[in-house]
Symmetry: C2
Subunit: 306 residues, 2 copies
């Protein structure tokens, strides 16, 4: 099955304590779509300017990523520039130029409206909702969000939550959203706001997944010693997760399937941070994904599997 991915497509400049690179492909939809495409066909929705390289469209098409929903309009592509602290755990936005993104109103191509799986990658909740409203009964809706929307668009976000099956957010955002210090309480409280499932990303500490009743899953992070650029790790996690779900769902999205999807999302994210921008993901192979999945299994199991 296909996944519809909507989010930002950007040209990034990223500075770490070690390196700085500019004119990189970025944006939540860019990362999420490529990650999802390792598992299932993707229908991409976004906007770019007339400065956006044609080569990216060629690349997307080479990867089962349908670009009919990507509007190319007059003006400049959305630009973001950020700088990471010495420990790569926090970052500061240096500049944002919305450019063509400022007037973006996603319009779904007709062929997109029947997509079973939807990933609302990180953009304003009002845009996420606008996409959902054009869809005909999607089977499973995943939404990613960030602190900016919790702080500035809370009522839009609250409204969106009632239509979402899985919300993805990071640990500090979960705490901020619920005013709970315990992540367990925070996850359970977010479920009461709408989503039957919540995934809390904890960076170097992995991720937590909350399901119905006492369904709960804790996943460690892959033990990378060197991280080059954390940009897009969360988007990649969401994309890998949604792509895996769409590719492997049978009757229903079970908690067992969601657990594996969280692992595959983590696997993809662990590759993402090994290089700047999408460079590592562009070269990634299915064998590398399979190997790292096995490593995840090795590092988290404590009884020998059959």
């Amino acid at each position: 099955m296909s996944v519809l991915v909507v989010g930002s497509i950007a040209i990034d400049t990223v500075k770490t304590p070690v390196e700085e690179h500019s004119d990189l492909l970025g944006g939540s939809a860019s990362y999420a779509a490529l990650a999802a495409s390792f598992f299932s066909p993707v229908r991409l929705v976004g906007v770019v300017g007339d400065d956006f390289p044609k080569s990216e469209f060629d690349f997307w098409r080479s990867r089962k990523i349908d670009t009919e929903g990507v509007q190319q309009v007059n003006g400049k592509t959305f630009r973001w520039s950020g700088e990471y602290s010495w420990d790569l755990n926090t970052r500061e936005t240096r500049s944002i130029d919305l450019n063509v993104f400022e007037d973006f109103k996603p319009v779904l191509p007709k062929a997109y409206r029947h997509t079973d799986f939807v990933l609302l990658a990180n953009i304003a909740p009002s845009l996420q909702r606008h996409v959902l409203e054009q869809m005909e009964r999607p089977r499973f809706v995943v939404a990613d969000t960030m602190d900016l929307w919790i702080e500035t668009a809370r009522s839009d976000l609250d409204e969106l939550l009632r239509r979402v099956d899985l919300l993805i957010l990071n640990d500090s955002e979960a705490r901020e959203m619920t005013k709970e210090t315990s992540l367990i309480k925070a996850g359970r409280r977010i479920q009461k706001m709408g989503p039957a499932h919540v995934a809390i990303k904890k960076g170097e500490h992995g991720a937590l997944l909350f399901g119905q009743g006492d369904q709960f899953f804790s996943c460690g992070a892959y033990p990378l010693e060197d991280i080059h650029d954390p940009t897009g790790a969360g988007d990649t996690f969401a994309g890998g997760l949604a792509g895996y779900l769409a590719a492997h769902v049978k009757q229903n999205v079970t908690f067992e399937l969601l657990r594996k999807a969280v692992i595959y999302g983590s696997v993809l994210a662990s590759f993402c941070v090994e290089a700047f921008s999408l460079e590592r993901l562009r070269k990634l192979t299915q064998d590398e994904i399979a190997d790292r999945y096995q490593m995840f299994k090795m590092m988290s199991q404590f009884e020998v599997l059959a």
Copy 2:
């Protein structure tokens, strides 16, 4: 097999944002010994004053905890008082009265010197070493430590590390000790200082275990919604871990055995924080431990076990 446990035995006063309790049994050895005793016989080493309740000796003896190595001397028992912040993640020591602990020089009873498993619970590294020096070729030595010793007794600690098979410390301590921001790098660097194995405790995020070569294990924390008193959680983790190892070792301490020991340490610690002092551990049953172990398995596996 037995575990020798040496550490502090204290009378604590603990204040959380919700409650305050005084005259509680505390100290690293008290927690560690009781936790270990759920799995194997314990030989306890420590010192108490003449104010120390006889009832605790009776309790220990009722739990396979040999108290021959607990010196009772004139004076007052070591007293500690601490206060936790609103999120229970950080604490401040309000007062320490070393009392009889000031002149403590552990002397091992003859019967203790052949103990196969040793847990050097958190006390000054010079005391930990003094105990080790009285022992006859222990099979496996676990040491716990804390920031105080990293900051004030680093050369003693470095010397101890060369004689330790498994060092346990928390995430901020691992970073402080190695000046590495990556916990993966920190763990690997500590191994180069001596211990073949390192366990890094991450509080609400679980624990990491480093072994030989690329042996690595990541364990989540049990998803408790309410924590009443975090005091002793780390000591309980170490005690449960060491007790499980001693009870289940066959030829060698394998990485597979260590993984399970980390889980059982985490299980015991998750009970510890459910009440003040050792109150929850005193009432804990083997059935409860078995049930929570199954919960750990449920929450961390992503492929169905046979």
